[in-house]
């Protein structure tokens, strides 16, 4: 299977690989997937309390090229967005941007789930209620 140029580019030059301090109150961490399934994504966001803006985002991913590319792209998209905007990122945005084939759609779902998990982690840490999301369709 041939990968799209964008997937290859993110794989070769991933953006924002790394770790934020998960004990910090300003940091939300989303860990999704499972080793047995062949993909695990950890996405972290750092949020400015006052404005609700995501000031930094980092990822680490165990998975195929599409999973790595989706998480790299997610961190790029999240930086500078505020939480309300970030919640709206949809898995199909990844599919379109990276030209993911049908067998790789689950990578995009995982990226969307990682964003939501990170946001909820941040909210719960800060005494807010976790947002209830609809179950993702494709897993």
């Amino acid at each position: 299977m041939a990968y799209s140029e964008k997937v290859i580019d993110h794989y070769q030059n991933p953006k924002n690989v790394g770790t934020l301090d998960k004990s910090s109150k300003n940091v939300g961490t989303g860990l999704v997937g499972a080793p047995e399934c062949g993909d695990v994504m950890r996405l972290q966001i750092e949020v400015d309390d006052a404005t609700g803006t995501i000031t930094d985002a980092k990822f680490k991913t165990f998975g195929c090229g599409s999973a790595i590319a989706s998480s790299s792209l997610a961190t790029e998209w999240l930086k500078g967005k505020n939480i309300e905007e970030a919640v709206k990122v949809d898995n199909m945005d990844f599919v379109e941007e990276l030209n993911l084939p049908p067998v790789k759609i689950h990578c995009s779902v995982l990226a969307e789930d990682a964003i939501k998990a990170a946001i909820n982690d941040y909210r719960v840490k800060n005494g807010l209620e976790a947002i209830k999301f609809d179950e993702s369709v494709v897993h």
Partner: protein
């Protein structure tokens, strides 16, 4: 100069040896006859060429040329052996014993047999990939007609105790069939010393052409018969109808001859390179060889690089190095390798595996390049693997509640 890409997927198929192609060429244009045409020189030439190839093939495995049935490949030979025995020996019994790590051509044929009312026992394997001989003997019943165990495995290269298996089959009056696709031409296989009654193998795994293979069918002690699975002109002693693929058979014969003459020398060189590759890659932390290292083909190694996913790993160099992975993402079924799972590997390790199949045309320079490229990619991907980070922090990954997708 190192030429890219490098081919290290010789268990999938081998490149043809130029000497094989050379032997085949006259049989496309000049000697194009049908080997079954008995009344003119075109037919006689074709028949003579097939007879000669049959001798070359037989000689490689210590058989009589009359015991070689040409087929379209190993899958057809597997089907013919299992279905053919099941039909032919129906009055004797309906039970077949095989193993869980067999190739799909054997496993799916056995499933078909079950649908036809046959009974199949699927033996497990140990962590080394070997079947247990006691378990095998315990599984044999009065109705057992066939024991079908592969010679060497395509994913991990593990060689089964063929002599011991055939002795048990003989002791209990069952036939022994072996899918030797990965073994013939690579290691010495002798149907008499190994006690084999039926054996499937193919040209394109031993530097011959695709689309041609053979089923060895023993003629003496005991005389084995299989029911044909294709109706037609009664070629190949009535066991496999269809006009013979003369150029393919000529190439297959030549390939067998070359393997017979050059196997020892090839193996010394290839196994040395394999060992160099394996030793270098095992220097990476948390890298493990899958399957027996003792009972193994000389050109194969299968290694899991923990905390790195196989397809992601391949992507780091697959423009330049051709390899296979046991990862789900590289399979059509989206399931990780059933062979590795049968060896007791967790899904995580099965996802992290690479299969290396070296061959006659592999060079030291290619191995050197491969070691470097893979080591670099593993390190790079571990740097971005959350699992590697957790492992390094001493977190037991089994204690984490994963959201299963």
């Amino acid at each position: 100069m190192l030429k890219l890409p490098i081919y290290l997927d010789n268990n999938a198929t081998t490149p043809m040896d130029p000497r094989v192609l050379e032997a085949m060429t006259p049989y496309f244009l000049q000697h194009f006859g049908n080997a079954a045409s008995r009344n003119h020189p075109f037919g006689w030439e074709a028949e003579e060429a097939v007879d000669y190839a049959r001798e070359q093939v037989a000689k490689l495995i210590g058989a009589d040329p009359k015991e070689i049935i040409f087929t379209s490949g190993a899958t057809e030979a597997d089907n013919l052996a299992i279905k053919g025995v099941f039909e032919m020996y129906a009055s004797k019994g309906n039970h077949i014993i095989t193993a869980v790590t067999e190739h799909k051509a054997v496993l799916d044929t056995c499933k078909h047999i079950e649908k036809l009312g046959g009974e199949v026992t699927y033996l497990p394997v140990n962590a080394e990939g070997l079947i247990d001989l006691k378990e095998l003997e315990a599984a044999i019943k009065p109705t057992t007609i066939l024991i079908a165990i592969m010679y060497a495995n395509n994913e991990v290269g593990v060689i089964q105790p063929v002599k011991e298996i055939s002795a048990l089959a003989k002791k209990h009056g069952a036939l022994f069939f072996t899918d030797a696709t990965q073994a013939v031409g690579k290691v010495p296989v002798d149907v008499n010393k190994d006690g084999i009654d039926l054996m499937a193998f193919t040209g394109h795994k031993m530097y011959g052409p695709k689309g041609v293979g053979a089923l060895y069918v023993r003629r003496k002690n005991p005389r084995v018969k299989v029911t044909a699975q294709m109706d037609g002109g009664g070629h190949e002693r009535g066991m496999r109808s269809g006009t013979l693929n003369v150029p393919g058979i000529v190439g297959f014969g030549k390939a067998c001859e070359l393997c017979r003459l050059e196997m020892d020398e090839d193996n010394q060189r290839i196994s040395k390179m394999r060992d160099t590759l394996e030793t270098a890659l095992l220097k990476l932390e948390e890298a493990y060889v899958n399957g027996s290292k003792e009972h193994r083909l000389p050109h194969v190694t299968n290694i899991s690089f923990k905390y790195v996913e196989g397809e992601g790993l391949l992507m780091g160099f697959n423009k330049n190095i051709a390899l296979s992975s046991g990862s789900a993402c590289t399979s059509a079924s989206l399931e990780p390798s059933y062979v590795l799972k049968a060896l007791g590997l967790g899904d995580d390790l099965a996802h992290s595996s690479l299969r290396f199949g070296l061959g006659r045309f592999t060079t030291d320079e290619q191995i050197e390049y491969t070691i470097k490229a893979i080591s670099e990619t593993v390190l790079k991907l571990r740097d971005m693997s959350p699992l590697w980070e957790m492992y390094k922090e001493g977190i037991d990954l089994n204690t984490i509640e994963w959201a299963h997708h």
